[in-house]
Amino acid sequence: MTAELWEAIFKGIWITVQLTVYSAALGAVVAFAVGTARTSRHWILRFLSGFYVAVFRGTSALVFMFWLFFVVPLAFGWQFVPMWAATLALGLTYGAYGAEIVRGGIAAVAPAQREAGIALSFTPWQRMRRIILPQAVPEMLPPFNNLLIELLKGTALVSLLGIPDISFEAQLARLATGQSTTIYLAILGMYFVLAFLLTRVMRLLERRAKAGIGQAPPKSGGILGKLRIEETERSTKAGLAGGAQ
């Protein structure tokens, strides 16, 4: 492995981080918009958001990415910058999973809170923004953490479309040197470290969010707890499975 190859790989990390951040931002917007729409009083909003979730959870992220890259330019004449197409594909897909987390979080807030909001004459939107969401969001953070790690893993797909992220640079390095074992173990290690850092950040956010609403911060585990990224969360991808729910 030459210095240039390592440098290329580090540039790849930057691309991966950027993709993760942009898609997570888009995904979060989609998740909150679609997730709250699923609890709306208007059937048309509920139907449209339900349809969105069914479609984007039903299809495969990679297939959608290929579709955006190859079909949309031909069919509609829009040519995306590759980074944007990738961000769009990841954000829209993972946003649909996120919408289910948002919906679940909202549903988990006690109905009495809604009633108290009605009794104080808040508008439906005020109830959502001032009463329901502030209580629901801290509960959403652990599943969002899991989803974020799925998203980070999902960014590797863009290498198949020629975007020079870590996985793509790893391929180039392998072709140049033939040292498959070293390169891939190193790359996997980098993803693992990124996932670990993401988890730390989300834990911090969760602790602050819970302290901000008067709940005791969650206990942090010991050494093994730090090692085991998902110490407390049970199923990670269960929410990632189906198209319905």
């Binding site: 495969s60 079909v71 290498s159 074992t181 049970r234």
Partner: protein, 216 residues
């Protein structure tokens, strides 16, 4: 947008080939993940931390790193170690291994979901270890486990397109090859996208139904 039905007709034979490979990878990959996941789950319950910690680290490592890179690893590194397999077999091993780290969690939750009183009752009756597991714990755990495993089968199905990275001719790769030869992209990719929805959406409805039947 110009949709051409004759292109659809042309693509269909390749599509069905792709469907066969996709379903094959899904079925075999799922079975592998069910078996390996149980191994991890049981190893993670052994008293010795010299077993639990390495297994725990391995499982976390696999689960928190991309399947695609793992597939590349297997595809390029296994032959260096003298293991020669087809691309499809490598893909099945990779995807089965990756998902076994999720099914291990499912088993763990299922086992922990059995009330502690059941263990105590089995002990009070002096049931041997094998009977305790085989006749008391697992039959109760399985009711919680089946729908969750089913959901992972659907998730696994949706990850099979990654196998194109190592050259497996599943649905998406068939569309890609077809496009490369004919320069017709709209129909094949759209058909494959719809096919995934048509398979996974009803499947997820069925899993939800199972969940309601078995868990509650």
């Amino acid at each position: 947008m110009n949709w051409n039905w004759s292109v659809v007709d042309e693509f269909m034979p390749y599509f069905w080939d792709g469907v066969r490979v996709t379903l094959q990878a899904t079925a075999l990959g799922s079975l592998l993940s069910f078996a390996l996941g149980l191994v991890w789950a049981l190893l993670l319950r052994t008293p010795s931390r010299f077993v639990r910690w390495p297994v725990g680290f391995f499982v976390e490592f696999i689960r928190n790193t991309p399947l695609l890179v793992q597939l590349f690893f297997l595809f390029y590194v296994l032959p260096e170690w003298g293991v020669q397999t087809s691309a499809l077999a490598t893909g099945i091993i990779g995807i089965g291994l990756h998902y076994s780290t999720y099914t291990a969690e499912v088993y763990r939750a299922g086992i922990e979901g059995v009330p502690a009183g059941q263990w105590e009752a089995a002990r009070a009756l002096s049931l041997p270890r094998g009977r305790t597991w085989g006749a008391v714990i697992l039959p109760q755990a399985i009711r919680r486990v089946v729908p969750a495993l089913g959901n992972y089968v659907i998730a696994l199905l949706k990850d099979t397109p990654m196998l194109l990275g190592i050259g497996v001719l599943e649905m998406l790769n068939q569309a890609r090859q077809f496009g490369a030869q004919t320069f017709q992209y709209i129909e094949p990719y759209t058909i494959v996208g719809i096919a995934f929805i048509l398979i996974s959406y009803p499947a997820s409805l069925f899993m939800r139904y199972l969940e309601r039947r078995l868990v509650h």
